[in-house]
Point group: C2
Chain length 505, copies 2
């Protein structure tokens, strides 16, 4: 029933004069926002046909938000592109989606062959403004139904080639309603977007905020000093970040505290947060509710959530990714697809109106992950007796050493407890004797020093022998990360496995 | 995607050991509640076939809540019957629905011919317990889809013969999500049910509460002393009542204050609340958020809502029924179906996934009110510039006197401002000269005295001449009300019009 047009129409009718979006010096009322969306829809009607794909390659901005709303409301599919990808990767997504138009903030000189891939490049400056400001207004939502695809959200993340996740209008609307069960947003709230809007966690709040009349403050990207400044000056009440952002926010707020008293909720996800990080974040922002969220682009993106994690931060339960969010059904399956009881780790599968239609042009890969309406995440976790999910690993990140399963997050959790460790990733490398052995890549906190032997001794205090990293690398550069902030273990792992494969062949 | 089984399954997995329902001395955990629902579903499997109707005629109880959840989750249709109706009216609904089973708390001696109308009567005592406790458990939600009808909710209310509103699973699930946008419920909340559960406003919280893990306290019916007692002893945080309940709560709390400090939200609707009543309620419960809600059984029931009415109680805007709730589209149409601009009264029509499938076995009446997905409510109202709805009347309650429209709520609002007036109803009676003239039926506050002439003088201060009641009746008995608490103007009006009709024929 609902499409992206519904929140826009309600906001225009109910809150026309109120502030909807803040982006630097730009402040848009809900009335102005919806009018601009109509202008954009009018421009799209001239440039494209219904069902066409429209790509966006840009830093966060109010224009990105307009595109996110208006492209689907105009019956086109939005294709957000990962700005951290190299040109060939971007080119792949452009070609795979068959986008006819590219909206970008990059100068033509930096687009390489991308311009040749589309019929029209619209620069997100004057070019965009002349399209949106001057042209005819188009009706939003006309001819669009809830089961139409709203966008292709490319994901590849930590494994394999990028796939375009087809999210329908209903998927995204449902995800918004599910999210509300956890964040309980109201019209007095201000949601600060600081993660990248090409990722689901940078846009998953948008429809809900507009529907409820909540403000949105958009930062071009994440930087801890400006994020805290914006919280203070704009009175942001709620935001979402990946653990690396929490870490930077905590350190920065401790070093130079801002008045962020209006911030009431800090959601985090996309990667596990260590207990040590949660403690630091709570110490820096003691009045703030911490909400753990787990999901995937394929889930729309919300899968689980748990509120008020700061209330049991010293409890082992604080490591949970949360309970299945309202509206989402979640199970743990063994290799044969049988449901596992609490405590036993297996693959996380979810079902609900939020779950994607499938991968664009990839029926085989779709069939692999979508079975009887259940999305098979490839993540490994177990539930406790209260249905709280504990993620132990990506399927592919599980290390099998001497027949024993080693879940890398467990080892990482211990490494993070060492005061010198800022970032770490644990993964398997080939081992002649054990099949695989455990390797850790470490980045130290500024000014800290530690030897691999000391870290090994630290691990030995808490972990069984087969789980102790046999190789510990202290790196001078940050760990490689995906656009969504996930550590790219694939890249860390690749050199070792390539060599092993060479030995075999 | 979702059916009534989804909230039950989530609550069982996440909150099995926590308290779900309080009903007098009975306290059920979520685990026990869902187990009892499975037992009930097992009993229904033996007594009925999928799609069969199952009627309930009873005061509020935990068993009523179980029936409300389990009958639809078992793929049957629940048919709540109005306990305030006379036997012939109840018999009509039983016959119209074709219910095979009747669950009731009335002794056989008080059922008259009702028993003969169904195959089986289940007494809501030991009879019920033996069915639920001993029998086989059935899977909830098996073979049920979101577009299946979950129940027939008989409405007739203030006009005409009773019609069975077909509400689908999706209707009720959507209504729950819409409701959450306004009440922002969490697992720490306790919702007190005090209105009748045969009415939509006595059950509209149930799925949402279960989904979120919120407690529910069930009172057998409304009585102000016990309602306040329960708020105190159970720490109820949220409740809903019709204006007559607010009035009784306010007076009772002023007379003998309870500690109702945990109550955070008081929703009200089903009939307009006068400004004077809102002031009294706010004075008695100054810490409580007042939320105005408007809807209809056909809407699932939520149509509009507005939060924190107590913040602008002295503003003319406090008379609003609210904005279209998140998820609901609302328009005001003229007689020809054209949308009217703000300020102009016309018929209220709504659209959304909450809107009923239609009336059971009444295609003609369905076609009359459901057009292109829009439900035509028969209510007359206008919107202000912020899409706040102001109800001026039921279509049929509009009085046309000398060619001028008189909206009876406007006259009632003025009468309620008089300190002696406890209840009033304004309606049209035949008038040889003007077509109709305005008549008021009044019930005085205890210990108050006023003459009709004084009331007429009071009205004359605020109203144009044609709106002044020409006839004012001060009654010694309460005004007649429907089960939902709506004043039955039909009954007040009938004697006059019967006489007029006799004169014509």
């Amino acid at each position: 029933m609902h499409t992206f047009a519904d929140p826009l129409h309600r906001a225009e009718r109910c809150f026309a004069g109120r502030e909807a979006v803040v982006d630097g010096d730009v402040r848009l009322s809900f009335g102005a926002l919806v009018d601009r969306c109509r202008g954009l829809a009018g421009a799209l009607a001239a440039l494209t046909d219904p069902g066409d794909r429209v790509a966006v390659l840009a830093a966060n901005s109010h224009r990105y938000l307009e595109l996110y709303c208006a492209v689907p409301a105009a019956g086109r599919l939005i294709v957000p592109l990962n700005t951290r990808h190299a040109l060939p990767e971007i080119e792949y997504a452009l070609a795979d989606s068959g986008a006819r138009v590219l909206f970008t903030d990059r100068p033509a000189s930096e687009l390489g062959d991308l311009s040749a891939r589309v019929e029209r490049v619209v620069q997100l400056g004057e070019d965009y403004e002349s399209l949106v400001g001057a042209g005819p207004r188009a009706q939003l939502g006309a001819g669009v139904s809830e089961d139409d695809v709203a966008g292709l959200f490319y994901t590849g993340g930590t494994t394999g080639a990028a796939k375009g996740v087809m999210a329908t209008h209903r998927n995204k609307i449902a995800d918004g309603f599910h999210l509300q069960s956890s964040v309980r947003l109201g019209e007095d709230d201000t949601w600060q977007i600081m993660g990248p809007m090409f990722h689901a966690s940078g846009t998953f709040n948008i429809l809900l905020c507009i529907w409820l009349g909540a403000r949105q403050v958009i930062l071009p990207g994440f930087e801890a000093e400006s994020a805290l400044d914006a919280m203070e000056t704009e009175g942001s009440t709620i935001t979402f970040g990946v653990p690396a952002m929490l870490s930077a926010l905590a350190d920065t707020q401790q070093a130079r505290p801002r008045d962020v008293s209006r911030l009431r909720l800090l959601g985090f996800g996309a990667a596990p947060a260590s207990t040590a990080l949660l403690r630091r974040t709570h110490a820096a922002l003691p009045h703030v509710e911490l909400v753990s969220m787990y999901g995937a682009t394929e889930m729309g993106p919300m899968g689980t959530t748990i509120e008020h994690l700061e209330r049991f931060i010293d409890d082992p339960r604080a490591r949970t990714a949360g309970r299945p969010i309202v509206g989402v059904d979640l199970r743990i399956l063994d290799e044969d697809g049988r449901e596992l009881p609490p405590g036993e780790p297996g693959e996380v599968v979810v079902r609900g109106p939020n779950v994607m239609r499938g991968y664009w042009n990839k029926p085989a890969q779709t069939a692999e992950v979508l079975r009887d309406g259940w999305y098979h995440s490839g993540d490994v976790g177990y539930l406790d007796d209260d249905a709280c999910l504990y993620l132990v690993d990506r399927k592919k990140d599980m290390i099998i050493s001497g027949g024993e399963n080693v879940y890398s997050t467990e080892v990482e959790e211990i490494l993070y407890q060492h005061p010198a460790v800022a970032e770490c990733a644990v993964f398997g490398v080939p081992d002649d004797r054990w099949g695989e052995s455990v390797r850790a890549a470490i980045v130290l906190r500024e000014g800290s020093e530690v030897t691999p032997a000391e870290l090994e001794a630290h691990c030995r205090e808490y972990l069984g022998g087969y789980k102790i990293p046999r190789q510990i690398e202290v790196r001078q550069t940050p760990l490689p990360r995906s656009g969504a902030g996930k550590i790219l273990k694939r890249e860390l792992r690749a050199p070792f496995w390539d060599e092993a494969e060479r030995q075999i062949h």
